[in-house]
Amino acid sequence: MATFATLVVLGLLWGGVYLLMAEGLNLIYGVMKVVNLAHGDFIVLGGLLALTLFGRYGLSPVVAFPLAAALLFVIGAAVQGGVLERIPLAKPEGELRTLLATFGLSYVVANTSFLIWGSQFQSIPFLQSAFAVGPIAVPQGLLACSLLAAALAVAVHAWLRHTAVGRAVRATAQSALGAAACGLNVRRLRIVTFALGAAMAGGAGALVIALVPFQTSSGGDLTVQAFTLIALGGLGSYLGAWLAAELLGITEVMAQYYLGSDAAAAVIYLVFIAVLVFRPQGLLGRTMRI
């Protein structure tokens, strides 16, 4: 029973981490209705940047992590402004072309990272100890990441709800044409959104690399994991994504424990395909979009 309780708690905490890794993708999808296939590679890049800043230059994690996120913000802005803005989304093949472009981007990012950091698994040793709550051992790093993830989720939500730019982003999400007709600079909003999504990926990577080691080729798996989560949550939905994250977290931890890591890796894809086939509108359907 204690084992089971531990697994549930771990699963819930991991859910927070998964949420963090998926939020940037969710934001970008919500606003632009495109999926950034390089999202997982952005997460890995953020993690490896944090690793270098922390390990090589000795920066404190409090500085290194936000700095990694900021670097990803710049990269994201450059990608959207320099490349993806050139594809007109209004045309029917716009979605497909964006998909293919980000497919290419994922290889560029992953292999550039490979040139810089090599192919071995890397991790930041940070907050490695655990503390006990009754019979349950809670790893400190996981708890910190999970709490930070929740804080970031709330912050982004508040930003979308209560700031002028956030409202403009939501308006663009609901109707780009309407937003443009109201005098909003839709192009700039899309660039900000994509950059923010990339920054969230980078921040997530910086936190997660303290929990699980990364390899430069982990990006594809992370993209699918993040996409599974937002698809399960109902694309673009915040509450749904959080629910889905907790569910996936528990599923993953249970599968790891009872079936082993190979099977756990397959479970995420099976969940993914099952979700797409049986519940394509997500857990909560069309409610609670941004």
Binding site: L37, L84, R86, L99, L100, G104, S106, Y107, Y269
Partner: protein, 592 residues
């Protein structure tokens, strides 16, 4: 018209075009065979790589390009083919040719259930779902002990690359030939229509489901042969190379660079990009994937149609029009055909009782009764939001009613798929016209005609006849966007009539037409009605349909508010109130 005739460009006949393309393919294959037979191992290996690339790109293009289901996991079938062949050789002691054939057959049959699941998905969902499938298979292969698990296994290989290169060249050329031929068949036409607009394809009588699964299996088969040939040549197999993302990236890039959805795109792109990949691999092995990824981005942004889009649309390397051009019109045009068996049934051919459809709290259609007899023209009018288009979706099987039922020719249509209904004789048009943008005017009509006629000659004659009647024959080779809006509407009506319907549902079909065009439609509709076709026409305003309609049914807020002859309905105070509001109900309503 004579000016248009004079300005019409000269085309090669489709046979000549086909022959030229076959000759080019032959020359390419022959040069591949010559180089492979030189005895130079390096050159033969290069030929093998190029031919394998062309084969994989051609297979990907069948489902990703022709059908529009872009996949990021087509490598699944490459891996399945490779593993099945290796197991056949290692554990069943089969000779290579038989192992390869069996592996291809196994992977292709496995594509049927996989296709049934995966093709429920669309767009990004399908693309990523396939990516997930490749990862699941790779994980499964890791656990397969008889092939060495994650470490892989050696497999008895061919002696030197010359023979595999030659065989692969022949198979790749055959694959390209099969696709070129496929594009001139019913299935090819249907696949391209599905890519353009699956809903309109269904309305034109296409079994969208079946066609997609067929394309998926063909694509899978090509990839599986490729996998078997790969193992035969290299003599080694492990999960990460059999299901490698690199193969997927290169395949997508080759098709994209050459021209997605064309016959020659994957061939040209396959040759160019595999050579480029080889050069890059030799000089910059570490940077190869960065360059290929950047190239994919560049092409997606700057040249989405690939190299083929730089060639003229009607050049000799382009796709020849399917079964075209239409023959010169026969003297004494044939009367429009209607299914006599249905037209002869006494009583109404289409009946609906208490039909209702709710969307959440809104009743779009609320207890509508409607019936129409063979040869009758019924106009359904009503203000915006009256529920007219929803009613049509219910009548044509595109939506399932919340209450009530629809009967066509005495049978309930509940649970009948729209394409079956279209084939049985319920044809429709759409409020915003849904023509197939990449199919020519001719092919737009032919697509519906092949749903009706089993024999090619009959379908061609029927489609020709309809183009002639609609005054569209001169425009047969143009794309729908090239037509003015009114003529696009004519084309959509022609497509619906090509099903030779016993019930024709027209959804504001005459909106945006000029006077002469409306007169032309009236003439055609009269002819169809005279042959026993029942016509239900939705119009926002009445004059477009009044001269034909014996009866008018007026809808508002999902209910029938008036019914009768056009003249009386127009003076009905309820109708006037519905259009103009209650304040105006006293005034004459002559302009409707």
């Amino acid at each position: 018209m004579s000016a248009a005739r004079a300005a019409r460009p000269r085309f090669l006949s489709d046979r000549a075009q086909f022959a030229l393309q076959a000759a080019l393919l032959g020359v390419l294959a022959a040069s591949g065979l010559l180089i492979a037979g030189q005895g130079n191992g390096y050159a033969a290996q290069l030929v093998f790589n190029v031919a394998l690339s062309v084969l994989l790109a051609t297979g990907w293009n069948v489902i990703g390009g022709m059908t529009g289901y872009v996949s990021f996991g087509q490598v699944s079938f490459f891996g399945l083919g490779a593993y099945a062949a290796a197991i056949g050789v290692l554990h069943l002691a089969l000779p290579w040719p038989i192992a390869a054939l069996l592996a291809t057959a196994a992977a292709t049959s496995l594509a049927v259930p996989l296709g049934l699941i995966m093709l429920r998905l669309n767009g990004i969902f399908f693309a990523l779902g396939m990516f997930g499938l490749a990862r699941i298979l790779q994980i499964a292969a890791n656990g397969l002990n008889i092939t060495g698990g994650p470490m892989g296994t050696t497999v008895p290989a061919a002696e030197g690359p010359a023979l595999p290169a030659a065989v692969t060249v022949v198979i790749a050329a055959a694959a390209a030939g099969v696709v070129a031929a496929l594009m001139r068949t019913r299935l090819g036409l249907r696949l391209m229509a599905i890519r353009d607009d699956p809903v309109a394809a269904e309305a034109a009588g296409v079994n969208v489901w079946l066609a997609k699964v067929a394309a998926f299996c063909i694509g899978a088969g090509f990839a599986a042969i490729g996998g078997a040939l790969y193992v035969w040549n290299i003599g080694y197999l492990d999960p990460s190379s059999a299901f490698a993302g690199t193969i997927e990236l290169q395949t997508v890039l080759m098709v994209l660079a050459g021209g997605i959805g064309t016959v020659w795109g994957p061939v040209g792109g396959g040759i160019l990009m595999s050579l480029l990949g080889t050069v890059l691999w030799a000089r910059f092995p570490m940077e190869q994937q960065i360059v290929l990824g950047a190239l994919t981005m560049l092409i997606a942004v700057a040249l989405p149609g690939g190299l083929m889009s730089l060639l003229p649309r009607r050049g000799w390397m382009a796709r020849p029009p399917i079964w075209g051009p239409p023959r010169e019109a026969s003297e004494g045009a044939l009367p429009l055909a209607v299914r006599v068996a249905v037209a002869d049934t006494p009583g109404p051919v289409l009946v609906c009782r208490n039909l209702g459809k709710r969307f959440g709290g809104v009743a779009a259609v609320d207890g509508v009764d409607l019936e129409v007899a063979p040869g009758e023209v019924l106009a359904v009018i009503g203000p915006n939001g009256a529920g007219k288009s929803t009613l049509f979706n219910l009548l044509s099987g595109f939506a399932v009613p919340s209450t009530g039922e629809v009967e066509f020719a005495g049978c309930k249509i509940a649970n009948i798929r729209p394409y079956v209904l279209a084939r049985r004789g319920v044809a429709r048009t759409f409020q915003t016209s849904r023509l197939f943008p990449t199919l020519s005017v001719w092919e737009n009509v032919l697509l519906a005609a092949i749903s009706r006629h089993r024999r090619k000659a009959h379908a061609v004659a029927a489609a020709t006849e309809l183009l002639e009647r609609m005054g569209l024959r001169e425009d047969w080779a143009r794309l729908p966007q090239g037509l003015p809006p009114g003529r696009r509407r004519l084309l959509e009506i022609a497509r619906a009539l090509a099903l030779e319907p016993s019930v024709l549902l027209l959804d504001e079909a005459m909106a945006g037409m000029t006077g002469p065009e409306i007169a032309q439609v009236h003439q055609v509709l009269r002819a169809a009605a005279a042959r026993g076709c029942a016509i239900v026409a939705i119009e926002h305003v009445l004059p477009a349909i009044a001269p034909l309609a014996a009866r008018v049914q007026v809808l508002d807020f999902g209910r029938t508010i008036a019914e009768g002859a056009p003249a009386e309905v127009l003076h009905d105070p309820t109708v006037i109130a519905a259009y103009l509001g209650t304040d105006m109900a006293g005034t004459e309503f002559a302009h409707a």
